[in-house]
Amino acid sequence: MNVIKSLLLLALFSSCAHKGLEKSLHSSRLDGLRHESLNRYTNQDLEGLKGAFKSIALCHKGRYNEAFSQFKQDLDTNQNNPVYWNHLGTCYYLKGEYPKALIYLEISMKLTKKKKLLAAVYNNIGLVHLKQGNLPEAKASFKLSISNDKYAKTPRYNLAQLYLSRTNFNSAKQILEKLASQKPNDVDFNYSLGHLYLMKKQYIKALSKFDRIPEQYRKRDDVALNLATTFHLMGKHEEALKTLDSAPKTTSNFALQQVELRKRIEQKLNK
């Protein structure tokens, strides 16, 4: 029965896999990277962007053809504009065409003289490498980004994510705690720290971080999985199951893990 249930869930998750993780934040107060990154803007927020940001906003909304058309139209007036190339490269990154993304980001890199802009470009180059699994290159790019703008939060956040994914928790902790102190309400800062403490088996600390996350975002697949695991490891199995139930299960990676966790919890409860 459990096997059938798992298979059904797997089928459901596979069909929903394309949706990906919904990262947008409906309140700017919860977004510590608000002034640097459009990644967690809602569609409504993106609609309000004008001028130079119009095209990149389209990319974040997934309207790539429109965006590229606009970029082509704007080429002649922006050939020497590093911001233009940064946006175009970022757009191709978002679309998943990484070689092209790198070409345009490198153009931006060569054109820009401003360190802050260079930081942004290096960050985005790092993202491309990260997506392609070229982690040393990603790490180097994020570090270059940080060296050009030590106040920029996005590259530091991204570097922390890299460390986290590679289980370098201590390096990640240094960065995340500083970020959280600067922006204590950021959902992903708190989530990342919650995950970190969980992995370091500091469940109470982990829970305290998860508690800082507003209810609607705790239901997110990845957050819910981590929170449920924390509850489970703290012996709060019912709460763990409740958390798992609230998750939408739209992201296949996390959904499968949620299934596995549920199995373990139910086994434990049965015992």
Binding site: L21, K23, L33, H35, E36, S37, L38, N39, R40, F53, I56, H60, F71, K72, L75, H87, T90, Y93, L94, Y98, P99, K100, L117, A120, V121, N123, N124, G126, L130, K131, Q132, G133, N134, L135, P136, S145, A152, T154, P155, Q161, L162, Y163, L164, S165, R166, T167, N168, F169, N170, S171, S192, H195, M199, D222, N226, H232, L233, Q257, L261, R264
Partner: protein
């Protein structure tokens, strides 16, 4: 008498015969002459055979000698005339030598005869013959004497006396001794038997006229005229009438004359006409008019046409003489319509020409230079006279037109003069007149144009005409060089390309060495075409330049091609700017496919099509057009276009069309493979643009195909290697490195990449072994040590796992000693294995070290768990409790070591900022976490940096 008559008759017949003979050809006359001579000589011979000649025979001989003189006179006269006609001059004496000799001889013979026979009956006849011989052959002034002697010797009223008397009267008449002649004639004029009576009356009449006896003179001629009707008299009507009309006029008896003529002349026209001339000469205007009218009514039907013409010609002179201008004009006009024979025509022409000249002179004289006024009517008449002359003298029509023009010019009627000069010239060119007036007419035309003060355009028209005619006539004359250019200038001002071309061609033909001028004019035309935006024409002109017709240097031709291209393409470029790119392309295509345009322009058009398709993001068509047109350029142009293509490639890339960009770079390499030093960027971009689309196979193919076009492929190899690694094409990476033997050349980067691939695929044995082989090919000591270490790790890992999978079996009956021994052994084995693993840390490979730490932590944790779970069976409770306590203490040690390894691993990672490989499983020491493998998805969590400050 009879012999005399016979003699005379013989002479007459002979003369007529000889005269008749004279009409025949020379050869038959001579023959005839010889025959006659022979007859004479034969008769002479016969006479000479008689020893004693009578006066009769001698007289006959005298007559024969006289006949001989005549013969020789004729012969020598004929010869004389021939020589005269050939222009040879000879004196009469020399010309008639034989005649004179024979005359003298005959004269002497006659005198001798008279001396011998002083009372001969032939005396008067002999003297008469001597007189006539003297008159006809010698001109020795002996005639009078001999005639007087003849008359003296002859019996009065005899025939010889009569003949001598008439000869004497003629003598006096001829010598203008009219009184003497009259006196003689009075004595003989009554002889109506003489057939020459009519002639005598004629001569008599003349003598009477000369002695002012007009009435008698007229009467004598009238009688002679009337008698001429009779057959017994010689018909002297013509001569008599000729003189009679004069007599009437001189005698002022015109009316009588008219009546006489009308009464007696059956064909009175001739007489009337002559009469009219005479009355005209003498100032009888009315009478002349009357005679003219009569003559007009009495034309000889067979000769009417000719007579009418003669009459009109006479009337012309008549009216001209009497200044009857209107009538004169009408006659002149009529002369142009009636039929004239050649002579009459000549006469008409001569008369009207003379009149015209007179009129010209008058007009010129009367022309007032101050007021520029003249006799309009006279001028009009003169023009008409010239017209008449044109009709009469068709072959000289041009000349008359010219005269008309000259006349008009002289009175400053320049515009009219111009028309006439033109007509004159046109006519002269078709039918040249006797006067060579081309030059004069053309000069007249130019001068008239100058003074006519035409409006500008009209003046140009006229100048065009004038220049054209000049060049038609004297295309190579020195002045023509300037004229050609002036004509061209007019056409230029009128933007008349067709004629400009013709004018220029003519200049070239006639002045082939004036290249500089040819080019100057050609350029003027070209400038006009440019100004008019006439690309089609300009294309023709450029083609002309290209074939070298004008000797333009290549740079100038090129410049013109550029101008043409700009002109042609200007509108297309405008369309493109307005967003009508498709229309612009259509326009360029029209140029490309039109053979009218020069090759350079067509190729530019095609190239521009390629550029436009690039803007339209139609890569396939863009490249197609570049490929199509590139071969059309020459080497120099190709070099320029190369730069353009490279820019287009860059632009394509910037416009996110890497496919097109790569195509273009390959096109450049196709055409410039030989310029190895300059090709490196093209080569790199041709590959990197394909790699931008992740077209691995294509980019590798490009590398293979075009590596010969560059000197050094190192940088490109590095780019390919990086791309293949970073984009997950490990298989292609290994093949590329193997195929081109790049292991050592790019060892440094390959060491890193291969190791990362190794760790990435560590969990799959097959991949691990395969990558291991490639790593070995790098011959890197560190990597080789790593491989050895990994091998050892895996062996020890398997050994540890095997060891942990076979815990101590306690059995139903617990044997503590045995258990202790087994436990110790087990721990020893474990320790050896963990030590072997621990030694792998000295290799210093970070990833291997992480795996070792993980393995040690796992193994220690598993051992601790195993020990903690030993529960002996069949032992007392206390013992079991004690046993568990001991086991927990032992297990705790191993747990602690396990944690220690975990901590070391963490510290290691933190210290060296390591990133664990994908294949490394999470090892937290927590069962749930290790099972779920909870990892943060960094690539999903990471954020873009868009809002740059």
């Amino acid at each position: 008498m009879k012999p005399i008559v016979l003699f005379i008759l013989f002479n007459f017949i002979f003369a007529q015969t000889v005269h008749g003979q004279a009409k025949k050809k020379d050869t038959s006359k001579i023959t005839r002459w010889q025959y006659l001579l022979k007859l004479i000589e034969e008769e002479e011979k016969t006479i000479n055979m008689v020893r004693r000649k009578t006066d009769h025979l001698l007289y006959r001989q005298f007559e024969l000698m006289t006949e001989k003189i005549k013969l020789y006179k004729e012969k020598e006269n004929h010869a004389f005339l021939e020589m005269s006609s050939k222009g040879k001059k000879i004196t009469r004496k020399k010309a008639f030598t034989q005649t004179l000799n024979r005359y003298e001889k005959t004269r002497k013979f006659g005198i001798k005869l008279l001396k011998r026979y002083p009372r001969t009956r032939y005396k008067a006849a002999i003297y008469h013959t001597l007189a006539l011989n003297s008159r006809d052959y010698a001109y020795d002034k002996r005639e009078l004497r001999y005639l007087r002697l003849a008359i003296q010797s002859a019996r009065k009223k005899s025939e010889i006396w009569y003949l001598s008397m008439t000869s004497l009267a003629e003598y006096h008449y001829n010598n203008k001794n009219y009184k003497n002649a009259v006196s003689i004639y009075n004595q003989v004029i009554d002889n109506t038997d003489d057939e020459w009576h009519t002639k005598n009356l004629y001569n008599y009449g003349w003598c009477l006229l000369k002695t002012h006896k007009f009435e008698k003179a007229i009467t004598s001629l009238e009688v002679g005229y009337k008698l001429s009707f009779e057959t017994k008299y010689i018909d002297f009507r013509e001569q008599i009438m000729q003189s009679l009309v004069s007599f009437y006029v001189i005698g002022k008896q015109i009316k009588r004359g008219i009546n006489f003529v009308m009464k007696y002349d059956k064909t009175p026209y001739t007489a009337l006409a002559r009469f009219a001339r005479k009355t005209s000469e003498k100032g009888f205007f009315d009478e002349t008019e009357q005679l003219i009218d009569l003559a007009q009514d009495n034309f000889d039907p067979k000769e009417k046409i000719e007579q009418l013409a003669d009459l009109r010609l006479f009337q012309f002179d008549f009216y001209n003489q009497y200044k009857r201008e209107k009538k004169l004009f009408n006659i002149a006009k009529e002369l142009t319509v009636i039929t004239l024979n050649d002579y009459q025509k000549e006469e008409a022409i001569r008369k009207i020409s003379a009149k015209s000249r007179d009129e010209q002179i008058i007009i010129k004289k009367d022309f007032d230079k101050v007021s520029s006024s003249y006799d309009v009517a006279r001028l009009s008449s003169l023009e008409s006279y010239f017209e008449f002359l044109s009709v009469l003298d068709v072959k000289n029509e041009a000349m008359y037109r010219f005269f008309t023009a000259e006349t008009l010019y002289s009175v400053k009627e320049y515009q009219r003069a111009l028309s006439s000069y033109k007509r004159a010239l046109e006519t002269q060119m078709k039918t040249p007149s006797q006067m060579d007036l081309n030059k004069k007419a053309v000069d007249g035309i130019f001068s008239s144009i100058e003074f006519s003060q035409f409006p500008k355009e009209r003046e140009k028209d006229e100048l065009v005409y004038a220049y054209t005619k000049f060049l038609q006539l004297w295309p190579k004359e020195k002045k023509a060089f300037v004229i050609h250019q002036k004509l061209f200038a007019i056409y230029l001002s009128r933007k008349d390309h067709k004629n400009m071309e013709i004018a220029l061609s003519a200049l070239i033909k006639n002045f082939p060495k004036k290249g500089e001028t040819h080019r100057k004019l050609f350029k003027q035309r070209m400038d006009l075409a440019i100004k008019q935006d006439n690309a089609y024409l300009l294309a023709s002109l450029v083609k002309t330049m290209q074939v070298g017709k004008f000797g333009f240097p290549k740079e100038e031709t090129k410049k013109a091609e550029v101008i043409l291209a700009n002109l042609l393409f200007g509108k297309f470029q405008k369309l493109n700017r307005e967003g009508k790119t498709e229309e612009a392309i259509a326009g360029y295509k029209q140029v490309f496919f039109n053979n009218h345009y020069p090759k350079s322009v067509k190729s530019e058009a095609g190239f521009n099509i390629g550029i436009l398709y690039t803007d339209l993001n139609d890569s396939a068509k863009s490249v197609k057009w570049f490929k199509k047109t590139f071969p059309l350029f020459n080497n120099k142009e190709k070099k320029i276009k190369r730069v353009f293509l490279e820019k287009m490639a860059k632009r394509s890339a910037l416009l996110q069309d890497f496919l097109n960009a790569a195509h273009i770079q390959r096109l450049v390499l196709d055409n410039f493979c030989h310029t190895k030093k300059q090709n490196i960027a093209n080569f790199q971009q041709a590959i990197s643009f394909d790699l931008a689309n992740d077209y691995v196979l294509r980019s590798l193919h490009t590398f293979k195909s075009y590596k010969k076009c560059v000197e050094d492929t190192t940088a490109t190899e590095a780019s390919i290697i990086s791309h293949l690694f970073r984009n997950g094409h490990s298989g292609d990476l290994f093949s590329f490195v193997e195929d081109y033997k790049l292991s050592q050349k790019h060892k440094k980067v390959l060491v890193d990449y291969y190791e990362r691939l190794f760790w990435k695929n560590f969990s799959d044995k097959g991949s691990r072994n395969s990558i291991g082989k490639y790593i070995k090919a790098l011959h890197d000591p560190e990597l080789n040590a790593m491989l050895t270490g990994v091998k050892e790790y895996l062996v020890t890992k398997d050994a540890l796992e095997d060891l942990l999978e076979s815990p101590i079996e306690l059995g139903e009956v617990f044997n503590p000693q045995k258990f202790n021994v087994d436990l110790n052994n087990r721990i020893s084995q474990f320790a050896k294995l963990t030590q072997r693993q621990g030694e792998l840390l000295s290799i210093g490979n970070p990833q291997l070290s992480l795996f070792v730490y993980d393995q040690l932590a796992l193994s220690l944790s598993a051992l601790a768990s195993e020990i903690r779970n030993y529960h002996p069976q069949g032992v007392p409770k206390e013992m079991a409790a004690q046993f568990s306590k001991q086991m927990n203490i032992v297990a705790a040690t191993f747990s602690k070591q396990s944690q220690s390894n975990l901590s070391s691993s963490e510290r290691f990672m933190h210290k060296y900022e390591l990133l664990s490989p994908n294949s490394r499983k999470l090892t937290t020491g927590n069962g749930i976490l290790d099972v779920i493998q909870l990892r943060m998805p960094a690539s999903i969590m990471a954020n873009t940096f868009d809002l740059e400050k």
